[in-house]
Symmetry: C2
Subunit: 142 residues, 2 copies
DNA sequence: AAGGGCGGTCTATTTATGAGACCATATCTC
DNA sequence: GAGATATGGTCTCATAAATAGACCGCCCTT
C-alpha cells in the first residue's frame, strides 16, 4: 500500500485494492487509512481551515472572520482535531489579552497539493455541475 | 479564476484569492464554486462512491456490498445527488427484477485524479497522523 | 409455501452542526 | 468611572444530517 505514489499511472485502482484488504472484521473498517482520513475530509470545515492557513499562520479570530460563517464552536472543535492529527500547531502568546496562533505543520502543508488539486477541479468544473443540476431539476418538475 | 491549472506553481493561493471575491453578500457564499463543491466533498460517502465506480459501472446492491457500512438510505441519497451533479449516470435495465446500473460520467471521471491525490496522501501519511493522535491523547491524560 | 435477491422508501434514533449567551481580562473612549 | 471593544474560548439549546433497520412489490428458486 505504501508504495503508491502520485506518479502511478492508476493510483486510484491500487488504492481500491488496498481498501479491499480492510474488508475483514467490521471493527477494522475504522482503521483503514483511506476511510480514516476521508472521515476527516468529510467534516465540513477541515479543508477550508487548512487552505485558510496556507498563506500564513493566523489567530483564532482572524480565522473566524476569514471563514465568515463558521461558529466559534465549530472552529474550536475543528482546530483541536487538526492539532491532534498533527496538521496544525497551536501556540499561545502571553500578551494581554493572550493571543493564540495557529499554523500549518509540515505534515499539514504536505496535504495542500492534494487539496489544491481538488479545489482546482472544483473551480474548473462548477459551471458544468451547475448546468447539470439545473437540467436535472427541470426534468423533475416535468 | 478559471485560468487556474494544475501546473500553476501556487494554485492554492490563487484559489484563496478567488474565494475572497465571494466575501460580499452572505447569500452569495453558497454560490462560491469552491464552497459549493467542498460541501459535496464534505458529505460522508460522496468520494467513496466515486472511487468505487472507478473500475467499472456497478449496480445498487453491488455498491452497497462494496461500501459495506453504508445504509440503503444514504446510498440512494448520495447517488441521486451525484446524478444531479452530473458525475454519475443511472441506467435502468428492464430485466426481472429490474437492475439499475450506476456509472461515472466523463465529468465524474475527471474528478478522480484529484480525489486520487487525496487518497494517496492519506495512504502515505496516516501512520504519522495516528502517531500524532496517540501523542496528543497521552498529553491530555497527563 | 418459504426464502432470497432486487431497488428502493419510511420511521425513529443518534450524531453533527449552528446560533448565540456568557466569562475574565485588559484596553481605549468619553 | 461607565461603556464599548477585543482577546480565546466554553456552555446550552435548537436544527440539520446520518444511521439502523423494518417494510414493500416483484420475481425466482427450492
Amino acid at each position: 500500500m505504501t508504495r503508491l505514489h502520485a506518479g502511478n499511472p492508476d493510483p486510484v485502482r491500487a488504492i481500491l485494492d488496498g481498501m479491499a484488504a480492510w474488508a475483514g472484521a467490521p471493527a477494522d473498517e475504522a482503521q483503514c487509512p483511506v476511510r480514516d482520513v476521508l472521515d476527516r475530509v468529510g467534516q465540513k470545515w477541515t479543508l477550508l481551515i487548512l487552505v485558510a492557513l496556507e498563506p500564513a499562520p493566523r489567530r483564532f479570530s482572524q480565522l473566524q472572520r476569514q471563514l465568515r460563517d463558521i461558529s466559534k464552536r465549530m472552529l474550536t472543535q475543528s482546530l483541536r482535531q487538526l492539532e491532534r492529527d498533527g496538521l496544525v500547531s497551536r501556540q499561545v502568546f502571553p500578551t494581554k489579552p493572550p493571543s493564540v496562533e495557529y499554523a500549518l505543520t509540515d505534515l499539514g502543508r504536505s496535504a495542500l497539493p492534494a487539496i489544491g488539486a481538488l479545489l482546482v477541479w472544483a473551480d474548473d468544473n462548477h459551471e458544468a455541475i451547475r448546468a447539470s443540476r439545473a437540467a436535472f431539476d427541470a426534468e423533475e418538475v416535468a
